[in-house]
Protein backbone atom coordinates (compact mmCIF):
# COMPACT_ATOMS: atom_id res chain seq x y z
CA UNK A 1 0.00 0.00 0.00
CA UNK A 2 1.16 3.56 -0.63
CA UNK A 3 0.75 4.43 3.02
CA UNK A 4 4.15 3.65 4.50
CA UNK A 5 2.74 2.92 7.93
CA UNK A 6 2.44 -0.85 8.01
CA UNK A 7 -0.09 -2.48 10.33
CA UNK A 8 0.11 -5.99 11.71
CA UNK A 9 -2.05 -8.41 13.67
CA UNK A 10 -0.52 -9.31 17.03
CA UNK A 11 -3.40 -10.92 18.90
CA UNK A 12 -6.53 -12.93 18.14
CA UNK A 13 -9.55 -13.54 20.36
CA UNK A 14 -12.59 -15.36 19.11
CA UNK A 15 -15.67 -17.34 19.81
CA UNK A 16 -17.30 -19.42 17.10
CA UNK A 17 -19.99 -22.09 17.18
CA UNK A 18 -17.26 -24.76 17.11
CA UNK A 19 -14.49 -23.22 19.25
CA UNK A 20 -13.66 -20.51 21.77
CA UNK A 21 -10.04 -19.76 20.86
CA UNK A 22 -7.88 -19.74 17.75
CA UNK A 23 -6.09 -23.02 18.46
CA UNK A 24 -9.34 -24.96 18.86
CA UNK A 25 -10.93 -23.15 15.93
CA UNK A 26 -8.07 -24.07 13.64
CA UNK A 27 -8.22 -27.66 14.83
CA UNK A 28 -11.98 -27.76 14.18
CA UNK A 29 -11.52 -26.43 10.64
CA UNK A 30 -8.75 -28.90 9.87
CA UNK A 31 -10.77 -31.84 11.21
CA UNK A 32 -14.17 -31.02 9.69
CA UNK A 33 -15.86 -30.22 13.01
CA UNK A 34 -19.21 -28.49 12.62
CA UNK A 35 -20.67 -26.13 15.22
CA UNK A 36 -24.19 -26.15 13.84
CA UNK A 37 -27.01 -27.54 15.96
CA UNK A 38 -30.77 -27.41 16.03
CA UNK A 39 -32.43 -24.68 18.07
CA UNK A 40 -35.98 -23.53 18.73
CA UNK A 41 -36.67 -19.97 17.62
CA UNK A 42 -39.70 -18.03 18.86
CA UNK A 43 -42.51 -18.00 16.26
CA UNK A 44 -40.33 -19.79 13.69
CA UNK A 45 -39.82 -23.23 15.23
CA UNK A 46 -36.84 -25.54 14.90
CA UNK A 47 -33.97 -24.23 12.80
CA UNK A 48 -30.31 -25.02 12.23
CA UNK A 49 -28.11 -22.38 13.85
CA UNK A 50 -24.65 -21.75 15.23
CA UNK A 51 -24.42 -20.73 18.87
CA UNK A 52 -21.28 -20.14 20.92
CA UNK A 53 -20.60 -21.59 24.36
CA UNK A 54 -17.84 -19.37 25.77
CA UNK A 55 -17.90 -18.45 29.46
CA UNK A 56 -19.71 -15.10 29.62
CA UNK A 57 -18.51 -14.50 33.15
CA UNK A 58 -14.81 -15.05 32.56
CA UNK A 59 -14.22 -11.33 32.05
CA UNK A 60 -17.57 -9.81 32.99
CA UNK A 61 -19.62 -9.51 36.18
CA UNK A 62 -23.06 -11.09 36.13
CA UNK A 63 -24.65 -7.72 36.82
CA UNK A 64 -23.01 -6.13 33.80
CA UNK A 65 -23.98 -9.06 31.60
CA UNK A 66 -27.58 -8.61 32.75
CA UNK A 67 -27.42 -4.93 31.98
CA UNK A 68 -25.72 -5.33 28.61
CA UNK A 69 -26.22 -7.37 25.48
CA UNK A 70 -25.07 -10.69 24.05
CA UNK A 71 -23.10 -8.81 21.40
CA UNK A 72 -21.41 -6.83 24.15
CA UNK A 73 -20.60 -10.00 26.02
CA UNK A 74 -19.13 -11.63 22.92
CA UNK A 75 -17.09 -8.48 22.28
CA UNK A 76 -15.76 -8.35 25.83
CA UNK A 77 -14.74 -12.01 25.75
CA UNK A 78 -13.00 -11.66 22.38
CA UNK A 79 -11.25 -8.40 23.29
CA UNK A 80 -9.80 -9.85 26.51
CA UNK A 81 -8.74 -13.04 24.75
CA UNK A 82 -7.09 -11.04 21.95
CA UNK A 83 -5.23 -8.81 24.37
CA UNK A 84 -4.04 -11.81 26.37
CA UNK A 85 -2.89 -13.48 23.16
CA UNK A 86 -0.94 -10.36 22.16
CA UNK A 87 1.15 -10.50 25.33
CA UNK A 88 0.02 -7.03 26.36
CA UNK A 89 -1.54 -6.41 29.75
CA UNK A 90 -4.68 -4.36 30.24
CA UNK A 91 -3.04 -2.48 33.09
CA UNK A 92 -0.15 -1.38 30.87
CA UNK A 93 -2.34 -0.18 27.97
CA UNK A 94 -2.41 3.54 27.28
CA UNK A 95 -6.17 3.70 27.58
CA UNK A 96 -6.79 6.97 25.74
CA UNK A 97 -4.62 5.84 22.80
CA UNK A 98 -6.45 2.55 22.33
CA UNK A 99 -9.35 2.38 19.87
CA UNK A 100 -12.15 -0.18 19.67
CA UNK A 101 -13.64 -0.70 16.20
CA UNK A 102 -16.17 -3.49 15.76
CA UNK A 103 -18.07 -4.42 12.63
CA UNK A 104 -21.73 -5.32 13.05
CA UNK A 105 -24.42 -6.47 10.67
CA UNK A 106 -27.15 -5.11 12.90
CA UNK A 107 -27.62 -4.32 16.56
CA UNK A 108 -30.68 -3.82 18.73
CA UNK A 109 -33.05 -6.29 17.14
CA UNK A 110 -32.61 -8.81 19.95
CA UNK A 111 -33.50 -6.33 22.67
CA UNK A 112 -36.34 -4.73 20.73
CA UNK A 113 -37.94 -8.07 19.92
CA UNK A 114 -37.66 -9.16 23.54
CA UNK A 115 -39.21 -5.92 24.77
CA UNK A 116 -42.10 -6.19 22.37
CA UNK A 117 -42.62 -9.79 23.43
CA UNK A 118 -42.77 -8.62 27.05
CA UNK A 119 -45.03 -5.71 26.10
CA UNK A 120 -47.62 -8.14 24.79
CA UNK A 121 -47.32 -10.25 27.92
CA UNK A 122 -47.91 -7.03 29.92
CA UNK A 123 -51.12 -6.17 28.02
CA UNK A 124 -49.36 -3.44 26.03
CA UNK A 125 -48.52 -1.47 29.18
CA UNK A 126 -45.67 0.67 27.83
CA UNK A 127 -44.82 1.94 31.31
CA UNK A 128 -43.15 -1.44 31.88
CA UNK A 129 -40.89 -0.95 28.86
CA UNK A 130 -37.32 -1.33 30.10
CA UNK A 131 -35.22 1.73 30.85
CA UNK A 132 -32.32 -0.39 29.57
CA UNK A 133 -33.80 -0.39 26.07
CA UNK A 134 -31.98 2.65 24.71
CA UNK A 135 -28.48 1.97 26.04
CA UNK A 136 -28.79 -1.63 24.92
CA UNK A 137 -29.90 -0.75 21.41
CA UNK A 138 -27.75 2.20 20.38
CA UNK A 139 -25.54 0.98 17.57
CA UNK A 140 -22.26 1.53 19.41
CA UNK A 141 -23.27 -0.76 22.29
CA UNK A 142 -20.96 -3.73 21.58
CA UNK A 143 -17.88 -1.48 21.39
CA UNK A 144 -19.09 0.69 24.25
CA UNK A 145 -19.48 -2.35 26.49
CA UNK A 146 -15.84 -3.25 25.81
CA UNK A 147 -14.80 0.30 26.68
CA UNK A 148 -16.74 0.18 29.97
CA UNK A 149 -15.44 -3.27 30.85
CA UNK A 150 -11.78 -2.57 30.11
CA UNK A 151 -11.67 1.10 31.07
CA UNK A 152 -10.50 2.06 27.58
CA UNK A 153 -11.06 5.77 27.00
CA UNK A 154 -10.08 6.07 23.33
CA UNK A 155 -12.61 5.92 20.49
CA UNK A 156 -15.01 2.97 20.75
CA UNK A 157 -17.66 2.47 18.12
CA UNK A 158 -19.17 0.02 15.71
CA UNK A 159 -19.23 0.04 11.95
CA UNK A 160 -22.47 -1.12 10.34
CA UNK A 161 -21.71 -2.92 7.10
CA UNK A 162 -24.07 -5.89 6.85
CA UNK A 163 -22.12 -9.11 6.38
CA UNK A 164 -19.03 -7.30 5.12
CA UNK A 165 -18.63 -5.76 8.57
CA UNK A 166 -16.01 -8.12 10.00
CA UNK A 167 -13.51 -7.15 7.32
CA UNK A 168 -14.41 -3.50 7.55
CA UNK A 169 -13.87 -3.39 11.33
CA UNK A 170 -10.31 -4.58 10.70
CA UNK A 171 -9.77 -2.19 7.80
CA UNK A 172 -11.05 0.73 9.87
CA UNK A 173 -8.80 -0.21 12.79
CA UNK A 174 -5.81 -0.28 10.46
CA UNK A 175 -6.71 3.12 9.03
CA UNK A 176 -7.03 4.69 12.48
CA UNK A 177 -3.51 3.46 13.33
CA UNK A 178 -2.20 4.89 10.06
CA UNK A 179 -3.88 8.21 10.76
CA UNK A 180 -2.40 8.33 14.24
CA UNK A 181 -5.83 8.39 15.88
CA UNK A 182 -4.83 5.46 18.08
CA UNK A 183 -1.67 3.52 18.93
CA UNK A 184 -3.40 0.20 19.40
CA UNK A 185 -6.61 -1.03 17.79
CA UNK A 186 -8.98 -3.67 19.11
CA UNK A 187 -10.77 -4.41 15.87
CA UNK A 188 -12.92 -7.09 14.28
CA UNK A 189 -16.55 -8.11 14.04
CA UNK A 190 -19.29 -9.51 16.25
CA UNK A 191 -22.80 -10.86 15.94
CA UNK A 192 -25.63 -11.82 18.31
CA UNK A 193 -27.96 -12.67 15.44
CA UNK A 194 -29.24 -16.01 16.71
CA UNK A 195 -31.03 -14.09 19.49
CA UNK A 196 -33.47 -12.53 17.06
CA UNK A 197 -36.31 -14.42 15.43
CA UNK A 198 -36.58 -11.73 12.76
CA UNK A 199 -33.41 -12.72 10.95
CA UNK A 200 -34.53 -16.35 10.74
CA UNK A 201 -38.06 -15.41 9.72
CA UNK A 202 -36.74 -12.91 7.19
CA UNK A 203 -34.44 -15.39 5.48
CA UNK A 204 -37.22 -17.98 5.54
CA UNK A 205 -39.63 -15.58 3.85
CA UNK A 206 -36.92 -14.80 1.33
CA UNK A 207 -36.49 -18.53 0.62
CA UNK A 208 -32.90 -18.27 1.83
CA UNK A 209 -32.86 -20.05 5.20
CA UNK A 210 -30.62 -23.12 5.07
CA UNK A 211 -32.11 -26.37 6.37
CA UNK A 212 -31.39 -30.10 6.51
CA UNK A 213 -32.65 -32.92 8.71
CA UNK A 214 -29.06 -33.18 9.99
CA UNK A 215 -28.29 -29.63 11.20
CA UNK A 216 -24.55 -30.13 10.60
CA UNK A 217 -25.38 -30.40 6.90
CA UNK A 218 -27.68 -27.38 6.75
CA UNK A 219 -24.89 -24.97 5.78
CA UNK A 220 -23.60 -26.27 2.43
CA UNK A 221 -21.95 -23.47 0.43
CA UNK A 222 -21.18 -24.44 -3.20
CA UNK A 223 -23.07 -27.76 -2.92
CA UNK A 224 -25.59 -28.44 -5.67
CA UNK A 225 -28.19 -29.09 -2.95
CA UNK A 226 -27.52 -26.00 -0.84
CA UNK A 227 -30.67 -24.20 0.18
CA UNK A 228 -29.65 -21.09 2.05
CA UNK A 229 -28.00 -19.43 5.01
CA UNK A 230 -27.56 -20.89 8.48
CA UNK A 231 -27.58 -18.03 10.96
CA UNK A 232 -24.84 -17.97 13.62
CA UNK A 233 -23.51 -15.76 16.34
CA UNK A 234 -19.87 -15.19 17.19
CA UNK A 235 -17.02 -12.78 17.25
CA UNK A 236 -13.41 -12.35 16.27
CA UNK A 237 -11.33 -9.46 17.54
CA UNK A 238 -7.74 -8.67 16.60
CA UNK A 239 -5.08 -6.59 18.25
CA UNK A 240 -3.64 -4.36 15.55
CA UNK A 241 -0.40 -2.45 15.95
CA UNK A 242 1.95 -0.55 13.71
CA UNK A 243 4.68 -2.91 12.53
CA UNK A 244 7.31 -0.66 14.07
CA UNK A 245 5.64 -0.83 17.51
CA UNK A 246 5.16 -4.58 17.29
CA UNK A 247 8.79 -5.18 16.36
CA UNK A 248 9.97 -2.86 19.11
CA UNK A 249 8.25 -4.91 21.78
CA UNK A 250 9.15 -8.24 20.18
CA UNK A 251 5.52 -9.17 19.60
CA UNK A 252 4.36 -12.34 17.92
CA UNK A 253 3.04 -11.25 14.53
CA UNK A 254 0.29 -13.20 12.79
CA UNK A 255 0.49 -11.21 9.57
CA UNK A 256 0.43 -7.80 7.96
CA UNK A 257 -2.67 -6.19 6.48
CA UNK A 258 -1.23 -5.82 3.02
CA UNK A 259 -4.25 -4.75 0.99
CA UNK A 260 -7.94 -4.09 1.16
CA UNK A 261 -10.81 -2.60 -0.75
CA UNK A 262 -14.44 -1.70 -0.14
CA UNK A 263 -16.97 -0.85 -2.84
CA UNK A 264 -20.70 -0.99 -3.58
CA UNK A 265 -22.80 -2.73 -6.22
CA UNK A 266 -25.43 0.02 -6.39
CA UNK A 267 -27.89 -2.32 -8.10
CA UNK A 268 -30.01 -4.30 -5.61
CA UNK A 269 -30.95 -4.63 -1.93
CA UNK A 270 -29.98 -8.30 -1.71
CA UNK A 271 -28.67 -9.69 -4.99
CA UNK A 272 -24.90 -9.47 -5.47
CA UNK A 273 -23.09 -8.07 -8.50
CA UNK A 274 -20.23 -10.09 -9.98
CA UNK A 275 -18.49 -7.21 -11.71
CA UNK A 276 -18.23 -5.10 -8.55
CA UNK A 277 -16.84 -8.12 -6.67
CA UNK A 278 -14.21 -8.55 -9.38
CA UNK A 279 -13.29 -4.89 -9.09
CA UNK A 280 -13.10 -5.14 -5.33
CA UNK A 281 -10.68 -8.10 -5.39
CA UNK A 282 -8.54 -6.48 -8.09
CA UNK A 283 -8.39 -3.16 -6.25
CA UNK A 284 -7.30 -4.89 -3.03
CA UNK A 285 -4.48 -6.65 -4.90
CA UNK A 286 -3.43 -3.38 -6.52
CA UNK A 287 -3.14 -1.81 -3.07
CA UNK A 288 -1.08 -4.80 -1.92
CA UNK A 289 1.10 -4.42 -5.05
CA UNK A 290 0.59 -8.06 -6.00
CA UNK A 291 -1.17 -9.96 -8.75
CA UNK A 292 -3.66 -12.82 -8.64
CA UNK A 293 -1.09 -15.59 -8.79
CA UNK A 294 0.59 -14.25 -5.62
CA UNK A 295 -2.50 -15.10 -3.59
CA UNK A 296 -2.26 -18.52 -1.94
CA UNK A 297 -5.72 -18.66 -0.37
CA UNK A 298 -8.99 -17.07 -1.37
CA UNK A 299 -11.47 -17.51 1.44
CA UNK A 300 -14.88 -17.13 -0.14
CA UNK A 301 -17.79 -15.29 1.42
CA UNK A 302 -19.98 -18.20 0.18
CA UNK A 303 -23.06 -18.14 2.38
CA UNK A 304 -24.91 -21.09 0.84
CA UNK A 305 -27.52 -19.17 -1.10
CA UNK A 306 -28.04 -20.24 -4.70
CA UNK A 307 -27.35 -16.92 -6.39
CA UNK A 308 -24.79 -15.57 -3.92
CA UNK A 309 -22.45 -18.53 -4.33
CA UNK A 310 -22.87 -18.58 -8.11
CA UNK A 311 -22.07 -14.89 -8.45
CA UNK A 312 -19.04 -15.03 -6.20
CA UNK A 313 -17.61 -18.10 -7.94
CA UNK A 314 -18.05 -16.39 -11.27
CA UNK A 315 -16.15 -13.39 -9.91
CA UNK A 316 -13.40 -15.62 -8.48
CA UNK A 317 -13.05 -17.46 -11.81
CA UNK A 318 -12.69 -14.11 -13.55
CA UNK A 319 -9.91 -13.00 -11.21
CA UNK A 320 -8.15 -16.26 -10.31
CA UNK A 321 -9.08 -18.56 -13.20
CA UNK A 322 -5.51 -18.53 -14.51
CA UNK A 323 -3.78 -18.58 -11.11
CA UNK A 324 -2.14 -21.95 -10.53
CA UNK A 325 -0.85 -20.85 -7.15
CA UNK A 326 -4.23 -19.89 -5.71
CA UNK A 327 -6.38 -22.27 -3.64
CA UNK A 328 -9.98 -21.59 -2.73
CA UNK A 329 -11.79 -22.46 0.51
CA UNK A 330 -14.80 -21.36 2.50
CA UNK A 331 -15.68 -21.56 6.17
CA UNK A 332 -19.44 -21.20 6.59
CA UNK A 333 -20.05 -24.94 6.15
CA UNK A 334 -18.54 -25.38 9.64
CA UNK A 335 -19.86 -22.35 11.50
CA UNK A 336 -22.78 -21.04 9.47
CA UNK A 337 -23.03 -17.36 8.67
CA UNK A 338 -21.84 -15.37 11.67
CA UNK A 339 -23.01 -12.13 10.03
CA UNK A 340 -20.97 -9.17 11.35
CA UNK A 341 -18.40 -11.59 12.73
CA UNK A 342 -18.11 -13.68 9.56
CA UNK A 343 -15.24 -11.90 7.79
CA UNK A 344 -13.18 -11.58 10.96
CA UNK A 345 -13.77 -15.17 12.08
CA UNK A 346 -13.02 -16.57 8.65
CA UNK A 347 -9.79 -14.60 8.42
CA UNK A 348 -8.80 -15.83 11.89
CA UNK A 349 -9.43 -19.43 10.82
CA UNK A 350 -7.00 -19.04 7.92
CA UNK A 351 -4.23 -17.05 9.64
CA UNK A 352 -2.53 -20.17 11.07
CA UNK A 353 -1.80 -21.22 7.47
CA UNK A 354 1.23 -18.92 7.65
CA UNK A 355 2.64 -21.18 10.35
CA UNK A 356 1.30 -24.70 9.74
CA UNK A 357 1.41 -24.43 5.93
CA UNK A 358 -1.99 -26.03 5.55
CA UNK A 359 -5.08 -24.69 3.83
CA UNK A 360 -8.24 -25.76 5.56
CA UNK A 361 -10.83 -27.43 3.37
CA UNK A 362 -14.40 -26.39 2.85
CA UNK A 363 -16.71 -28.55 4.94
CA UNK A 364 -16.87 -31.55 2.66
CA UNK A 365 -19.02 -30.70 -0.35
CA UNK A 366 -20.67 -33.85 -1.59
CA UNK A 367 -21.48 -32.54 -5.03
CA UNK A 368 -20.09 -29.20 -6.17
CA UNK A 369 -22.59 -27.15 -8.15
CA UNK A 370 -21.13 -26.88 -11.69
CA UNK A 371 -21.89 -23.15 -11.53
CA UNK A 372 -19.67 -22.93 -8.45
CA UNK A 373 -16.67 -24.80 -9.81
CA UNK A 374 -13.44 -22.93 -9.25
CA UNK A 375 -9.84 -23.91 -9.81
CA UNK A 376 -8.04 -25.51 -6.83
CA UNK A 377 -11.09 -25.76 -4.58
CA UNK A 378 -9.96 -27.35 -1.30
CA UNK A 379 -12.63 -29.92 -0.58
CA UNK A 380 -12.30 -32.79 1.86
CA UNK A 381 -8.74 -32.74 3.18
CA UNK A 382 -6.52 -29.77 4.00
CA UNK A 383 -4.02 -28.81 1.30
CA UNK A 384 -0.33 -28.72 2.26
CA UNK A 385 1.22 -25.54 0.93
CA UNK A 386 3.50 -22.65 1.85
CA UNK A 387 1.21 -19.67 2.33
CA UNK A 388 2.30 -16.06 2.00
CA UNK A 389 -0.90 -14.22 1.06
CA UNK A 390 -4.51 -14.75 2.16
CA UNK A 391 -7.36 -12.90 0.49
CA UNK A 392 -10.68 -12.88 2.33
CA UNK A 393 -13.98 -11.89 0.74
CA UNK A 394 -16.93 -10.56 2.72
CA UNK A 395 -20.00 -9.20 1.01
CA UNK A 396 -23.27 -7.91 2.37
CA UNK A 397 -26.79 -6.70 1.73
CA UNK A 398 -27.32 -3.38 0.00
CA UNK A 399 -24.42 -4.35 -2.22
CA UNK A 400 -21.44 -3.77 0.06
CA UNK A 401 -18.26 -5.65 -0.84
CA UNK A 402 -15.08 -5.88 1.19
CA UNK A 403 -11.81 -7.66 0.48
CA UNK A 404 -8.91 -7.99 2.87
CA UNK A 405 -5.42 -9.29 2.04
CA UNK A 406 -3.07 -10.42 4.81
CA UNK A 407 0.58 -11.16 4.22
CA UNK A 408 2.93 -13.44 6.10
CA UNK A 409 5.66 -11.66 8.02
CA UNK A 410 8.88 -13.61 8.28
CA UNK A 411 10.17 -13.24 11.83
Amino acid sequence: MDNKIRVVITGVGLTAPNANNLKDFREALLTQKSGITEMEVRYVGKVAAGNCNFDEYLYQKKKMRRRGTRAGSISIYCAHEALKDSGLSLEALVKNRTGIYLGITEHGNVETENEIYELHKNNLDASLWSHHHNPRTVANTPAGEVSLNMGITGPAYTIGAACAAGNIGIIHGMQMLQLGEADLAIAGGVSESTGTFGIFAGFKSQGALGSHEDPTLASRPLDINRNGIVVSEGGAVFILERLEDALKRGAKIYGEIAGYHVNSDAVDFVLPDTQRQVECMNAAMTKAKITANDIDIVNLHATGTVSGDENECEAVRAVFGQSENTYINCTKGFIGHAMGAAGALELAGNLPSFIDNKIHSCKHIESVDPKCEVRNLVNGNPEEKDVSFILSNSFGMLGINSVLIVKKIKQ
Binding site: K62, K63, R67, L128, H131, H132
Partner: protein, 84 residues
Amino acid sequence: MDYQTIRKKIIDIIAEIAIDEDLSNLDDNIRLREQLDMDSMDFLDVVMELKKRYKIEVPTEDYMKLATLKSCIEYLGPKFAFSA
Protein backbone atom coordinates in the same frame (compact mmCIF):
# COMPACT_ATOMS: atom_id res chain seq x y z
CA MET B 1 -47.44 -7.21 56.28
CA ASP B 2 -44.62 -7.36 58.84
CA TYR B 3 -41.16 -5.80 58.62
CA GLN B 4 -39.31 -9.05 57.83
CA THR B 5 -41.76 -10.09 55.10
CA ILE B 6 -41.40 -6.78 53.30
CA ARG B 7 -37.64 -6.87 53.84
CA LYS B 8 -37.47 -10.30 52.18
CA LYS B 9 -39.47 -9.10 49.18
CA ILE B 10 -37.10 -6.17 48.70
CA ILE B 11 -34.02 -8.34 49.17
CA ASP B 12 -35.39 -10.79 46.57
CA ILE B 13 -35.61 -7.95 44.05
CA ILE B 14 -32.15 -6.62 44.87
CA ALA B 15 -30.70 -10.13 44.59
CA GLU B 16 -31.81 -10.28 40.98
CA ILE B 17 -30.27 -6.90 40.19
CA ALA B 18 -27.05 -6.91 42.24
CA ILE B 19 -26.35 -10.52 41.22
CA ASP B 20 -22.69 -10.56 42.18
CA GLU B 21 -23.22 -9.21 45.70
CA ASP B 22 -23.44 -10.92 49.07
CA LEU B 23 -26.70 -9.72 50.64
CA SER B 24 -26.52 -11.73 53.83
CA ASN B 25 -25.13 -8.97 56.07
CA LEU B 26 -26.88 -5.84 54.90
CA ASP B 27 -27.34 -3.13 57.52
CA ASP B 28 -30.88 -1.78 57.28
CA ASN B 29 -29.79 1.68 58.39
CA ILE B 30 -26.93 2.25 55.95
CA ARG B 31 -27.57 3.47 52.43
CA LEU B 32 -27.74 0.59 49.97
CA ARG B 33 -25.38 2.40 47.59
CA GLU B 34 -22.74 2.47 50.33
CA GLN B 35 -23.02 -1.27 50.88
CA LEU B 36 -23.56 -2.48 47.34
CA ASP B 37 -22.30 -1.66 43.87
CA MET B 38 -25.60 -0.10 42.80
CA ASP B 39 -26.13 2.93 40.59
CA SER B 40 -29.15 4.89 39.37
CA MET B 41 -29.98 2.33 36.67
CA ASP B 42 -30.09 -0.38 39.34
CA PHE B 43 -32.52 1.67 41.41
CA LEU B 44 -34.68 2.11 38.34
CA ASP B 45 -34.61 -1.69 38.06
CA VAL B 46 -35.89 -1.91 41.64
CA VAL B 47 -38.70 0.54 40.83
CA MET B 48 -39.60 -1.43 37.70
CA GLU B 49 -39.66 -4.74 39.56
CA LEU B 50 -41.91 -3.30 42.26
CA LYS B 51 -44.32 -2.30 39.55
CA LYS B 52 -44.13 -5.61 37.69
CA ARG B 53 -44.36 -7.88 40.70
CA TYR B 54 -46.60 -5.92 43.07
CA LYS B 55 -48.12 -3.15 40.94
CA ILE B 56 -46.52 -0.64 43.31
CA GLU B 57 -45.78 2.74 41.74
CA VAL B 58 -42.86 4.78 43.04
CA PRO B 59 -43.00 8.33 41.66
CA THR B 60 -39.70 10.01 40.80
CA GLU B 61 -39.92 12.39 43.75
CA ASP B 62 -39.98 9.42 46.14
CA TYR B 63 -36.88 7.65 44.80
CA MET B 64 -34.82 8.92 47.74
CA LYS B 65 -37.07 6.94 50.04
CA LEU B 66 -35.48 3.77 48.67
CA ALA B 67 -32.05 4.79 50.03
CA THR B 68 -31.81 2.29 52.91
CA LEU B 69 -33.59 -0.98 53.58
CA LYS B 70 -35.26 0.61 56.60
CA SER B 71 -36.53 3.59 54.59
CA CYS B 72 -37.67 1.22 51.82
CA ILE B 73 -39.66 -0.86 54.26
CA GLU B 74 -41.20 2.18 55.96
CA TYR B 75 -42.12 3.72 52.62
CA LEU B 76 -43.29 0.55 50.88
CA GLY B 77 -45.08 -1.03 53.87
CA PRO B 78 -48.40 0.76 53.34
CA LYS B 79 -48.13 0.20 49.57
CA PHE B 80 -47.58 -3.54 50.05
CA ALA B 81 -50.57 -3.61 52.38
CA PHE B 82 -52.62 -1.92 49.71
CA SER B 83 -51.32 -4.13 46.89
CA ALA B 84 -51.98 -7.25 48.97
